[in-house]
């Protein structure tokens, strides 16, 4: 199955800019389905970004983060060719991870 994680990590000088889009419904728990019943909350809770064995960014998300969530940040110390690991876990215990190369 294809990964739910898309990432673009680009190094420029000693700064790496990371953009990530994750496929996830991010159901808030406030929306009703066609039958009129509430769709239970189902959202990513933690996203972790690791470079060279170190955490460079951690996102704690609640139900107010948009569907197919996006995040952008930058960190120092990465260079082209390095691995960047992204992993997430949601409120139902599901998870996914991806290792991408910094461009």
């Amino acid at each position: 199955m294809a990964s739910t994680i898309r990432v673009r990590a680009v190094a420029s000088g000693d700064t790496t800019e990371v953009q990530s889009l994750i496929q996830h419904p991010m159901d808030s728990g406030f929306v009703k389905d066609a039958k009129g019943e509430l769709i239970p909350p189902h959202h990513i809770e933690i996203v972790e970004f690791e470079h060279d064995g170190k955490k460079v960014f951690t996102a704690f998300w609640g139900p107010a983060v948009s569907k197919d969530p996006y995040v952008k940040f930058s960190f120092k110390g990465g260079k082209k060719g390095d691995d960047l690991k992204i992993s997430w876990v949601d409120n139902k215990g599901a998870s996914d991870s991806l290792t991408a190369k910094i461009q």
């Binding site: 294809a2 898309r6 953009q19 990530s20 889009l21 569907k67 197919d68 996006y70 952008k72």
Partner: protein, 284 residues
């Protein structure tokens, strides 16, 4: 199956000029004259807009919306549909053939030539119709016309044409001209409880708000299709948008790929000739 209906179409087309707007002289359809008038109306109304920018719909009309759109385009929500579409496009059918076998140029970089008039069947063929005919000809079940897999595949095909100028042909064939005229008539006809025509919003009021939406100009309005609409939280095709527009003016939506929808798509796409394909797109 279509023979009887094209006769009816020609008969209707003869009556059409009488129903068309005041600017239309009675007599033979003249798409080129319409094209010039349509183009100059929009360029005169929005003189500071680059021609290609009309293909960006409401974002060409409102600075605040444009900023949000540019932020979202950095990593757009249709990315997943695009990846899925590419995978679907490249996956062979059960009989071993692929979409590449149905389309010119292996199906890549051709979206700007759709819809076209098929002189053999006497009808307007949209990209979606062609995709499903390809599937059926190869023993596969057709896709739902409005979203999901159809939107994914056409998103990929549109993406391979990004930047290419629309290149819609209306052959000197009375049936093609009739289809074009029917599409034009549909565009300018009022309908629904709100009694709006497509032109009411997209010719008379582009850039204005209707409740919460900023209206897109009719020029280039289909160039970004298929679209990921925040409102839908998913992808939708031209059929999907036409149907929801009909509902929004409290009219009865037609079936996807209804002849009227294909004809108005033909008309609008021809009007956008020269403007770049910008699809797939994001919209509010």
């Amino acid at each position: 199956m279509r023979r009887a209906s094209w006769v009816a179409t020609v008969v209707a087309a003869l009556a059409a000029p009488l129903l068309a707007s005041a600017a239309q002289p009675a007599g033979a359809p003249d798409p080129q004259a319409d094209f010039k008038a349509f183009r100059s109306y929009f360029t005169q109304r929005f003189p500071s807009l680059k021609l290609s920018d009309f293909a960006n719909g409401p974002y060409s009309m409102d600075e605040g919306l444009r900023k949000q759109w540019e932020a979202i385009e950095q990593f757009p929500p249709y990315e997943f549909a695009l990846d899925k579409g590419k995978e679907l496009f490249n996956t062979p059918f059960k009989n071993g053939k692929t979409y590449a076998d149905c389309f010119p140029n292996k199906g890549l970089g051709i979206r700007q030539t759709y819809p076209y008039f098929d002189d053999k069947s006497g009808e307007v063929i949209t990209l979606e119709l062609a995709v499903n005919r390809c599937r059926e000809a190869n023993g596969e079940a057709p896709y739902d016309y409005v979203k999901d897999d159809m939107a994914a595949v056409t998103a990929y095909m549109a993406y391979t044409s990004r930047g290419k100028p629309m290149d819609i042909k209306i052959p000197k064939d009375s049936r093609a001209l009739a289809a074009y005229e029917k599409g034009k008539e549909y565009f300018y006809t009022r309908r629904g409880q709100l009694n709006f025509s497509c032109a009411s919003c997209h010719v008379q009021n582009p850039g204005q708000h209707i409740r919460t939406e900023v209206l897109a100009p009719a020029l280039g309005i289909l160039n970004a299709m298929p679209i990921y609409r925040s409102e839908w939280g998913s992808m939708g095709t031209i059929s999907r948008r036409f149907m929801t527009c009909n509902s929004q003016v409290r009219g009865v939506p037609l079936k996807p790929q209804d002849e009227n929808y294909r004809d108005v798509e033909y008309f609008l796409s021809y009007m956008a000739n020269g403007l770049p394909v910008s699809g797939p797109g994001s919209r509010p």
